[in-house]
C-alpha cells in the first residue's frame, strides 16, 4: 500500500521483497481438484495451508531459523513471495470500531490508540473503494457501517448459512453479512467473482484482493516503482545526523550484501520482521537498535485468540438436495462480537470479545471427509457419506488478545540465519483474559451445535486455545502511541526520533481487536503514506 500511495504521488520507490516474484494471473491453480495434487493437496510442513494455497514460506524456512524461549509456545508464519500474506488470506475485511481504539479507557487494560475511529474511517472508505469489499451496513454495536455506495453487495447466504444463523439467533446472537475483499461487481477493470476456487489459492482473474493484482499494477504503471525480489532487508542504515540513510539487504540468489540509499525508509516486512530489522540496526548512536530508545521494539506482540477446529454435523440438513455451495469461498455470514453490553456490566469473566467465522456445506470434498460417517467400512459407509455430505459446518472464533509483559520478541544472542543475521527469540504467554475467552468461544459453539441438533465431529474439538502465532495475525511489535516512552512510532507510523523512518505493517497496532488485521493495515498504511507525502513536500522529513 505504501508503494501504491507514494508512486501515485510522484515519488520514486524501490521495493525490496525478501521473497520471489509472483504472478497470480498465471500461477493460480484455478479449478484444480485434490486428485491432481500430491497427497490430495493436504497441508504439509512445506505447504502449511495446503498444496494449492498461494503461500510460499511457512512456519519453518530452511536456513532462516527463529528461537522460541523455554516455556513458550509460538510459531511464526513468514511469507517469501511478492505480495506476502495478501495472496492467501481469507479476505475477511472488518473495520475496527470506535471502542477498539480506546480499549484502556473502556476497561483499564492495555493502552488507547493515539487516534480515534473517526481519524481512520475516511481511510477505510478509500481502501474499501479501491480494493472492493462486499458487505452490508447492519448498524451493530462497534461494528461500523460504511458510507452509502462504498461496499459492494454481499452474495446471498447459502442455505446452510440460513440454518446456522437461526441457531445463533436462538441464543440472542445476531448474525451479519460477512465483509470480504472479493468483488461481487466489476471494479476498475477487474471482473466479479465466478464463485468457484477457494480464495486461499489466489485469483487469476483478480476478483479478490491481493497486492500483486490490485496495488502493484497501478503503482508500476506510474513508472515510479522498481521492485527487487529475493532481497532480504536486515538493517536500516543510519546517517551521522541521525536520519535513516537507506537499508542493507542480502540478495538471496547470490548471498551478496548490498546497501541502497533513500530519502525515506518504510518498513512493511510484517510485524516481527520489521521489529527484527530495527533491533538489528545497531550503531554507537543506537546500541539497542533504531527507534528503540525506550526498549519498546518487539514488545506488545499479540496474535488472535482461537481454539482448535469445532465442526458439527447436522442431521436436519440431510434432506437438502445437492446444490453448489462454493459461493465466494469465504462464508457469506459471520457473527460480530455481541457481548459489549454484558462485558460493561461485568457479566462476562473476560474483558474483550471475539467474532465467529464459519464454513462448511457442500464444499469440494477431499481428505478428512470420512469424519462425516460413523460406519467403519462396507456398503453402508458409501450410503452414509452420500446422505451426510454437505451437512457439516465448522466454527472459527477470532478473539482479541491484550498485550502483556511476558509476550514479546527480541534478538537471540547466539543464533544467526544463513547470512549471519541475528534471529528473533519469541516469548509467549496467554493471560487469563484470553484463556477464559477461548473457553467461552468453545461453549458458544457447542451450544449452537446442540441447538441445531448436531453432533461434534471434529477430532480436535477438545483442544483448548491454540499456540501463539497459529492464526498468523501477529501484530503490535512496533506499536504506535502518543508519546515515545511507551511506543515505537507516532500515529502516522513515523519513528519518534527518526523522522524519515516509517513502519506500515501490523506492527504499529496499539491493540489487537478481534477483527482481522489486513483491512486496518491497509487503511493505516494509506494514512501513513499520505502523511509521508505531505511531510516530504514540505521538506519536513
Amino acid at each position: 500500500m505504501s508503494a501504491y500511495v507514494l508512486t501515485q504521488a510522484g515519488f520514486k520507490v524501490l521495493m525490496l521483497e525478501a521473497g520471489r516474484d509472483y504472478h497470480p494471473e498465471t500461477e493460480t491453480p484455478m479449478f484444480y481438484v485434490p486428485s491432481q495434487a500430491p497427497l490430495r493437496g493436504v497441508a504439509t510442513p512445506d505447504k502449511p495451508y495446503g498444496y494449492y494455497s498461494a503461500d510460499i514460506g511457512g512456519w519453518t524456512i530452511p536456513d532462516e531459523p527463529y528461537v522460541v524461549a523455554p516455556g513458550s509456545e509460538f510459531q511464526w508464519y513468514r511469507s517469501r513471495m511478492l505480495g506476502g500474506r495478501t495472496n492467501h488470506w481469507a479476505r475477511v475485511a472488518l473495520r475496527f470500531g470506535p471502542y477498539d481504539f480506546k480499549p484502556y479507557s473502556r476497561d483499564g487494560l492495555g493502552v488507547d490508540w493515539p487516534i480515534t475511529y473517526e481519524d481512520l474511517s475516511p481511510w477505510y472508505d478509500r481502501v474499501e473503494r479501491l480494493i472492493g469489499v462486499f458487505g452490508s451496513n447492519e448498524g451493530l454495536e462497534n461494528t461500523p457501517d460504511s458510507p452509502p455506495g462504498v461496499l459492494q453487495p454481499p452474495p446471498p447466504p447459502r442455505p446452510i448459512e440460513l440454518f446456522i444463523k437461526r441457531g445463533f439467533e436462538s441464543l440472542q446472537i445476531p448474525v451479519a453479512a460477512t465483509r470480504a475483499a472479493i468483488l461481487t461487481q466489476p471494479l476498475n477493470g477487474r471482473p466479479a467473482c465466478v464463485y468457484a476456487t477457494e480464495c486461499v489459492r489466489g485469483c487469476s482473474i483478480r476478483a479478490n484482493f491481493q497486492t500483486p493484482t490490485v496495488l502493484l499494477p497501478p503503482a508500476l504503471a506510474t513508472g515510479n516503482l522498481e521492485i527487487r525480489t529475493r532481497a532480504q532487508v536486515y538493517q536500516v542504515d543510519m546517517d551521522k545526523d541521525g536520519r535513516a540513510g537507506g537499508v542493507s539487504f542480502v540478495d538471496q540468489s547470490t548471498g551478496h550484501h548490498h546497501s541502497v540509499r533513500a530519502r525515506a525508509v518504510v518498513l512493511a516486512a510484517s510485524a516481527c520482521e520489521s521489529a527484527r530489522i530495527l533491533l538489528n540496526s545497531r550503531s554507537p548512536r543506537s546500541p539497542e537498535g533504531v527507534a528503540n530508545e525506550h526498549g519498546n521494539v518487539g514488545r506488545y506482540l499479540t496474535d488472535s485468540v482461537a481454539i482448535g477446529s469445532m465442526v458439527g454435523q447436522f442431521p436436519a440438513l440431510e434432506r437438502l438436495p445437492p446444490r453448489n455451495d462454493d459461493g465466494a469461498s469465504v462464508s457469506h455470514v459471520y457473527v460480530p462480537w455481541w457481548g459489549y453490553q454484558k462485558q460493561s456490566k461485568g457479566q462476562l469473566n473476560f474483558p474483550r470479545g471475539y467474532h465467529v467465522e464459519m464454513g462448511g456445506g457442500r464444499t469440494m470434498p477431499g481428505m478428512g471427509i470420512d469424519e462425516l460417517a460413523l460406519t467403519p467400512y462396507g456398503p453402508n459407509l458409501r450410503s452414509e457419506l452420500r446422505r451426510t455430505f454437505g451437512t457439516s459446518y465448522g466454527f472459527f472464533g477470532r478473539g482479541e488478545m491484550i498485550p502483556n509483559d511476558q509476550t514479546f520478541c527480541e534478538i537471540d544472542p547466539v543464533v544467526k540465519d544463513r547470512w549471519g543475521i541475528p534471529v528473533l527469540r519469541f516469548h509467549w504467554k496467554w493471560s487469563e483474559h484470553e484463556i477464559r475467552q477461548a473457553a467461552h468461544m468453545r461453549q458458544t459453539f457447542l451450544e449452537v451445535i446442540d441447538r441445531l441438533g448436531g453432533r461434534v465431529i471434529s477430532k480436535t474439538a477438545n483442544t483448548g486455545i491454540v499456540k501463539g502465532g497459529a492464526i498468523s495475525h501477529e501484530v503490535g511489535a512496533t506499536r504506535m502511541g502518543s508519546k515515545p516512552q511507551t511506543s515505537v512510532v507516532n500515529q502516522f507510523g513515523q519513528a519518534w526520533n527518526v523522522r524519515n523512518l516509517f513502519v506500515t505493517d501490523g506492527g504499529v497496532f496499539a491493540s489487537h481487536p478481534n477483527k482481522n488485521p489486513t483491512l486496518s493495515i491497509l487503511a493505516l498504511s494509506w494514512r501513513s503514506g499520505s502523511y509521508l507525502v505531505d511531510a516530504a513536500r514540505r521538506g519536513d522529513l
Binding site: T26, P38, Y51, L385
Partner: protein, 214 residues
C-alpha cells in the same frame, strides 16, 4: 487395475516376508519397503502449482499394493454407477501417501505397513492361507475385529489401522471427479451470479428448524 496390483513375489516368499516383518518396528518396515532408500525429499516450499507432481519414490511392494487394493474395495465397495477405489487407483495413492517424507505420512506408514502385516499373519494363523486367497467373509471377520479398535489397541492388534485406511481410502476417493459425482458435489464451475436459496430449500430448512423448536 489388476495388472498394476499384480504380485511380483510368490506366495511362499510373501509368507516368509510377513513372518519376519511381524517382529520389526515400523521404521524398519519402512526401510524394507523402500529397499533402504535414503530419505526422500518433499516438494519444497515452492512447487509448481500449475503442474503438480510427486517427487518422492513410491515404496510399496506390488504385493502390498494388491492387498491394499482388496482392502480399499472392502472399505468402500463399488456401487451402481460408482467405481471401486481400486478402479480409481486409490492403492497408488496410499503408496504415495505412506512413501511421503512428511511427519503425518511417516507416522501413517508405520500404521499401514504394520496393519497389512497383521492381516497376512492372521490369515496364515487362522486359515493357513494368504489374505489374497481367502474369501471375503474371512476378510470381513478381520475388519470387524479391527473396527472395534477404540484407539487404545488390543494386544497383538494394529492400532488405528482400519481408521487410517478408511481416512486414506475415503478421502482419496472423494477427492476425484468420480467421487464428486457420487457424493453430490456439483461445484467447481464458474457462475455469473451466486443463486439464493430456492423455495424448496427454504421449505426444507424451515420444516427442520420447526422440528428442532427453532
Amino acid at each position: 487395475m489388476t495388472a498394476t496390483y499384480d504380485a511380483k513375489v510368490s506366495r511362499r516368499t510373501t509368507l516368509q516376508w510377513v513372518a519376519s516383518a511381524a517382529v520389526m518396528p515400523g521404521y524398519l518396515l519402512r526401510s524394507m519397503a523402500g529397499a533402504f532408500a535414503p530419505v526422500a525429499k518433499g516438494y519444497g516450499l515452492d512447487p509448481n502449482l500449475m503442474a503438480p507432481e510427486v517427487p518422492w519414490p513410491k515404496t510399496m511392494t506390488s504385493h502390498q499394493l494388491k492387498v491394499t487394493a482388496v482392502l480399499s474395495d472392502l472399505i468402500l465397495p463399488a456401487a451402481e454407477g460408482a467405481p471401486s477405489p481400486s478402479a480409481l487407483g486409490i492403492p497408488d495413492f496410499v503408496d504415495e501417501w505412506i512413501s511421503a517424507p512428511y511427519p503425518e505420512q511417516i507416522a501413517d506408514c508405520a500404521v499401514v505397513l504394520e496393519g497389512l502385516t497383521w492381516l497376512e499373519n492372521e490369515c496364515a494363523r487362522r486359515w493357513q492361507r494368504p489374505f489374497l486367497d481367502v474369501e471375503d467373509r474371512y476378510r470381513h471377520e478381520l475388519l470387524d475385529q479391527l473396527a472395534q479398535d477404540n484407539g487404545q489397541g488390543s494386544p497383538g492388534e494394529p492400532r488405528s489401522f482400519l481408521r487410517r485406511m478408511r481416512f486414506l481410502v475415503v478421502g482419496a476417493y472423494y477427492g476425484t471427479p468420480e467421487g464428486f459425482k457420487d457424493i453430490g458435489y456439483v461445484g467447481n464451475v464458474p457462475l455469473a451470479a451466486y443463486p439464493p436459496a430456492t423455495e424448496q430449500e427454504l421449505t426444507i430448512i424451515e420444516t427442520e428448524l420447526h422440528k428442532l423448536g427453532l
